[in-house]
Symmetry: C2
Subunit: 312 residues, 2 copies
């Protein structure tokens, strides 16, 4: 935003010196860097929470294999991480990132940290699991968050996952102040991976924009469904979002699973992001209706792997 404004002002100031503001000097948009026209409509259909459960893994890999869902990110502390690590190793072209995880947000099915528990006490509840939630009195030590996230990234590489990007489970690293965001950004730089950040978040969390450097990728928009959408309106919500897509790159953050006995049991204490929710996402994003709207609206799918290669 700031850079775009600066360029615009320089162009106004330099109106009498056209060579200063030639086509070459205007920074390329992300769409252009990806080889598309400036007004192209590009989407990443991104499934979160892979590794969470077998149901999530099975639904996500099935959806990825349709080609209609084209990116996903993996939770390393989860019990079913080994299953998805094995899949990632045998499917090296699939666009898997790491879904950096600092919480274990369910009640009946839980996980602990990857790092040694005594190194990350501020991340844990009294039973040794990653915290169920963060409240106003929670004080996460950013250094401990970094220790844990380094351990997650280390285990992923050690078990054969070569991630294409990083993002954050439950947006914890985006929504909780500059220190935690900078932990994520520092790890992204160190591992030379793009971190999912969208311009849509800059207003609410200005420290995100302020922390970014010229080499960081900025996704133009993001779409994710919220508890306010009635189940019977699920498809309409996504079709409206696709029909009203803005030019540039939009990441759809979706959550896939089957509403089977494992997933129903794992999420039974609340419906939000629960088994039926995830089944609805699966149903829509593998449907002919979704494929048709992509075609009708001339929307193109792009991956984080392409974005990493097109970094500024």
């Amino acid at each position: 935003m700031k850079r775009a404004l600066l360029v615009a002002r320089l162009c106004v100031l330099a109106a009498s010196v056209p060579s200063l503001c030639s086509a070459q000097s205007v920074p390329k948009t992300l769409a252009e860097r990806l080889g598309f026209p400036r007004d192209a409509k590009l989407v990443i259909i991104h499934a979160d929470d892979v590794g969470y459960s077998h149901s999530v893994n099975a639904a996500t890999t099935q959806a990825l294999e349709t080609g209609l869902v084209n990116s996903a990110s993996i939770m390393v502390p989860c019990p079913w991480f080994p299953e998805i690590a094995d899949y990632a190793k045998s499917h090296p072209s699939v666009d898997f990132g790491l879904h950096l995880t600092l919480t274990s947000e369910r009640v009946y099915y839980r996980w602990g940290p990857v790092a040694a528990r005594d190194l990350v006490p501020t991340l844990l509840d009294s039973d040794g699991y990653l915290l169920h939630d963060w409240t106003s009195s929670t004080r996460i030590d950013p250094q401990q968050a970094e220790i844990e996230l380094r351990a997650q990234i280390g285990r992923a590489y050690a078990m054969g996952v070569h991630p294409t990007h990083l993002d954050s489970h439950q947006y914890r690293l985006y929504d909780n102040g500059p220190q935690l965001f900078q932990v994520a950004l520092r790890l992204a730089h160190e591992y030379k991976l793009p971190l999912f950040v969208t311009r849509d978040w800059f207003r609410d969390n200005p420290y995100i924009e302020a922390s970014l450097g010229p080499g960081d990728v900025i996704i133009d928009h993001t779409v994710t469904i919220s508890p306010g959408v009635a189940p019977e309106k699920w498809g309409d919500f996504y079709i409206d979002a696709l029909k009203n897509l803005q030019p540039g790159v939009t990441e759809f953050v979706i959550h896939l699973a089957f509403a089977d006995s494992e997933m129903k049991a794992a999420t039974r204490e609340r419906d939000t992001w629960g088994a039926a929710w995830r089944q609805r996402d699966f149903d829509f994003f593998t449907s002919p209706a979704f494929r048709k709207v992509l075609e009708d609206q001339q929307i193109h799918l792009v991956t984080w792997r392409q974005i990493a290669q097109a970094a500024p």
Copy 2:
């Protein structure tokens, strides 16, 4: 065994002094301490591995509610431990022990230790999970095993489980020398819980008998099915075992789950103790055929809670 022999010899030596070998001076058998005649046939139908997965939890609690399966033990490091801890809290009369766990024996679905990883390195693989298996070159530090098992017991009590007994996942604490067995026994004494030990193991592992004191419970026999039994012979195996039951207390060690998508995926790399195996156990031990053989053979069910109260 040794004590019984000693008593028999003393009775021979003291044949002329009947008061020395009156009925009162012959130690009571476990069956007698439980209030049954010496020749009664008593069984514990004991489901292992609770907490392992939702499928195991659902099948085991359903089987416990029939009354035909009457005891079970819980794996604290497993991801679904919180679900079964919640069930145990709301069903305080159910006979739940702790299934002390030092391995994570599957490939696609795994768990780490409850203790801090840096305190128990000999229990872990390079990815930080509990070892998949122990080989001839594995060197488990018994002190580290004790740290981990104390952490498991501590978490169980902290989360509201009040166990009735202890036993060992995959028999690791019984089959690997006196030091590990004595860790289990020391914890059992400290927490005043009976440890599952059967006379059937004394010949192969003499250190078990040698480690026991007069206050320890000894189960007379144990029955568990092995990979040599063909799936179609499952029921026959158990019915034969029940029809040929010896007097005294016999623990049937069984493994329950549903052959659903979670369990099939969790165990897919080998069939032994896998999803179909556990479904067969569930089907037999909740069947009318099982109930009938118990009745026909005048076999009585006893729990670990009763055994603890009848300790020598």
